[in-house]
C-alpha cells in the first residue's frame, strides 16, 4: 500500500531526529522529578506524581508533534525530494496521509515509552496498575494525533517556525474554549452572540480530551463522554487532514 510505504519512510526519518530523543529525555526527567518533588509535599504523594507525570507526557508529546510535524512536508519541498516522489503514480492525498500516519506511528512509540516509565514509577509507589491512568494517556494521545494533523496542515504552506506558532496557537485556543462559553452566557442575544456561538462550535475544544484532573483526583467520569470525545477527535482530525489535502492538491512545485 502506497500510504503505508510513505508512512514507513516517514517513521524512519522521524526516528533519526535528535529533537525527538531530547524531548523524550526531558519528559522522562520530568516524570522522575515528580517522584523527587513528591518528597517535598505534605500529604498524598501519589497525586503529585500522577499530576506531573501526565502533564509531562502531554506537554512533551505536544512539543514532539509540533516540532517534527511542522517540518514534515516543508522539508520535502525544501530538499526537493518531493519532485522524485510526486513523479510517481501517487495521489497527493496519499502523500499527506502517509506523512501523517508516519508521524502518528512515531508519536505512538514515544508515548508508549513515556507511559511505561510513568506507570513504572506509579507502580513503585502504589503497587497497582490503575486503568484510569491508561484512559487519560489514551486521550492525551488522541489530542496529539489532532495536533499532528494541524502541524501537517500548516507544514503544507508555511515555514517550520510560522507553522509551529500557528499550531501552538491552535493548542492554546483549544484549551481556552470554555472561556468563550462563559462569555456567551453573559452576552445578550443578538448578532454578536450568534457569531461567538458559531466560533465556539467551530473552534477546537481540546478540553474534551483532558481527563487528567478527573483521573488523578478520582472524580467520576460519565460513560457517554468516552465515545463522544473519541468521535469528536476523529472527525476534527479528518477535517484538518481534508483541509491539508485541499491545500496541497493545488500546489505547484516550481
Amino acid at each position: 500500500m502506497k500510504i503505508a510505504a510513505i508512512a514507513g519512510i516517514t517513521f524512519k526519518e522521524a526516528k533519526r531526529d535528535r529533537v525527538l530523543y531530547l524531548l523524550f529525555f526531558f519528559a522522562a526527567l520530568g516524570i522522575v522529578a515528580a517522584r523527587v518533588l513528591a518528597v517535598l509535599t505534605v500529604g498524598d504523594r501519589i497525586k503529585i506524581i500522577k499530576d506531573v507525570g501526565l502533564a509531562s507526557i502531554s506537554l512533551f508529546g505536544v512539543l514532539m508533534a509540533i516540532l517534527i510535524g511542522t517540518g514534515l512536508v516543508y522539508k520535502e519541498i525544501d530538499k526537493k525530494t518531493i519532485f522524485t516522489l510526486l513523479a510517481k503514480p501517487l495521489h497527493r492525498a496519499e502523500f499527506i496521509l502517509g506523512k501523517f500516519l508516519g508521524l502518528v506511528l512515531t508519536l505512538c512509540v514515544m508515548t508508549l515509552a513515556m507511559t511505561l516509565i510513568f506507570l513504572a514509577i506509579v507502580y513503585a509507589h502504589t503497587l497497582r496498575i490503575e486503568t484510569p491512568l491508561l484512559v487519560a494517556v489514551g486521550f492525551i494521545f488522541l489530542e496529539l494525533v489532532l495536533i499532528t494533523a494541524v502541524a501537517v496542515l500548516f507544514s503544507c504552506f508555511s515555514t517550520p517556525i510560522l507553522s509551529s506558532l500557528f499550531t501552538l496557537a491552535f493548542y492554546l485556543i483549544g484549551h481556552l474554549s470554555w472561556g468563550l462559553e462563559l462569555i456567551i452566557r453573559k452576552m445578550r442575544p443578538g448578532a454578536g452572540r450568534t457569531l461567538v456561538r458559531g466560533l465556539y462550535a467551530f473552534l477546537p475544544d481540546l478540553e474534551n480530551f483532558n481527563f487528567k484532573t478527573e483521573v488523578v483526583h478520582g472524580l467520576p467520569i460519565p460513560a457517554g463522554i468516552y465515545l463522544s470525545s473519541f468521535l469528536y477527535g476523529v472527525c476534527y482530525t479528518a477535517f484538518i487532514l481534508g483541509l491539508a489535502v485541499l491545500v496541497f492538491r493545488r500546489r505547484d512545485f516550481i
Partner: protein
C-alpha cells in the same frame, strides 16, 4: 480518453463534500459532548494546584495577569449556583489569587463577602481578611471588616475589640472605629476600660454629635456598673434575709451598700423588688 477537467472537478467536489461532512460531524459531536456533565468544571483544575507559590513560578512573571484571570474565573465560578460544592475550596482559591498579587484589593473583600454571606464559612472569611491585612498594612478596611464580622456575626467581642484596635493603628482609619472598639469592650464585659475609653472619646469629641454619642455610652456604662453593684448587693441581702429588699434605701440602711449611686444625669435608678434588678429611668439612647 478522459477529459482532465471532469476528473479534476469531481475529485475537488468530493473533497469539499467530505470537508463539510466532517465539519458538521464535529460540530454536532461537540454539542453532544457539552451536554454531558463532567465531574470537574472547566478551568477548575486550579482547585488542585497545591499552592499559590507553585503557580507564582509557573506563570513566568505574568503573575498579576494570572491573578486577574483567576479572579475573573472565580467570580463566574461563585456566581454559578448549580455547582453545589463550589465553596469547598473558597479560601484555597482566594489564597492563590492573593499569593499571586498581594496588592490586588478586590479579591480580599469579595472573597470575604462570599465567605460570610454565601458560604457561611467564617474561618475562611477571617483567613482572607487577615491575609489582606498582612499584605496591605496600609489598608484599614481589612481589620475593620474582620472586626465587623466578629462583632455582628460571630459575636466574639474580644476578637472584635482586637481587630478594631488593629484598625485604629492604621493611619486614615475613621473616627467611629474607636467607638466600635469601645463598644466591643463593653460587650466583652470590661466595664472599667470601656468607661475610660468612652470618657476619653467624650473629652476629645470634635463635634456635638460625637459628644452626645459618647455621653450616651458613658451613661450606659455607668448604668451597667451601677446596676451590677446594686444587684450584687441585693443578692447578698437575699442570701442573708431570704428575700430581696423592698427598695434600694433598705440596702443602705442595712449596710449592704454604702450609698446609692445615681445615673449620669443625676437620676435615681429604678428598682424591682421581685427580681432584685435595677434599671435606668430612661433608655441611654433617648436621653
Amino acid at each position: 480518453m478522459k477529459t482532465p477537467l471532469f476528473r479534476k472537478g469531481s475529485a475537488a467536489a468530493l473533497l469539499v463534500a467530505f470537508l463539510l461532512a466532517s465539519a458538521g460531524a464535529f460540530v454536532a459531536l461537540k454539542a453532544a459532548t457539552d451536554r454531558i456533565v463532567r465531574g470537574k468544571q472547566p478551568g477548575a483544575s486550579i482547585i488542585y494546584v497545591p499552592s499559590g507559590k507553585f503557580l507564582k513560578y509557573a506563570t513566568f512573571g505574568y503573575r498579576a495577569l494570572a491573578a486577574d484571570l483567576l479572579y475573573l474565573w472565580a467570580i463566574q465560578y461563585y456566581s454559578t449556583p448549580t455547582i453545589d460544592d463550589r465553596f469547598d475550596h473558597l479560601d484555597h482559591i482566594f489564597a492563590i489569587i492573593n499569593e499571586l498579587d498581594p496588592r490586588f484589593q478586590d479579591p480580599y473583600e469579595v472573597g470575604a463577602l462570599i465567605a460570610v454571606q454565601e458560604a457561611r464559612d467564617l474561618r475562611a472569611a477571617f483567613a482572607i481578611l487577615d491575609r489582606g491585612a498582612a499584605n496591605n498594612p496600609d489598608q484599614w478596611v481589612y481589620p475593620f471588616n474582620a472586626g465587623h464580622v466578629a462583632l455582628m456575626t460571630v459575636k466574639d467581642y474580644p476578637l472584635a475589640e482586637k481587630y478594631f484596635e488593629q484598625t485604629m493603628k492604621i493611619p486614615g482609619a475613621p473616627d467611629f472605629v474607636e467607638r466600635l472598639r469601645a463598644n466591643a469592650m463593653f460587650k466583652k464585659g470590661d466595664l472599667e476600660t470601656s468607661w475610660q475609653t468612652w470618657l476619653d472619646i467624650y473629652k476629645r469629641a470634635p463635634d456635638e454629635r460625637t459628644k452626645r454619642i459618647a455621653s450616651n455610652h458613658l451613661y450606659n456604662v455607668k448604668a451597667t456598673i451601677d446596676g451590677k453593684a446594686l444587684e450584687a448587693a441585693a443578692a447578698k441581702y437575699r442570701d442573708r434575709f431570704g428575700r430581696f429588699p423592698a427598695d434600694l434605701e433598705t440596702l443602705v440602711r442595712t449596710g449592704f451598700a454604702s450609698e446609692l449611686p445615681k445615673d449620669l444625669d443625676g437620676n435615681d435608678y429604678l428598682y424591682d423588688a421581685a427580681t432584685g434588678k435595677a434599671r435606668t429611668v430612661t433608655s441611654p439612647w433617648k436621653r
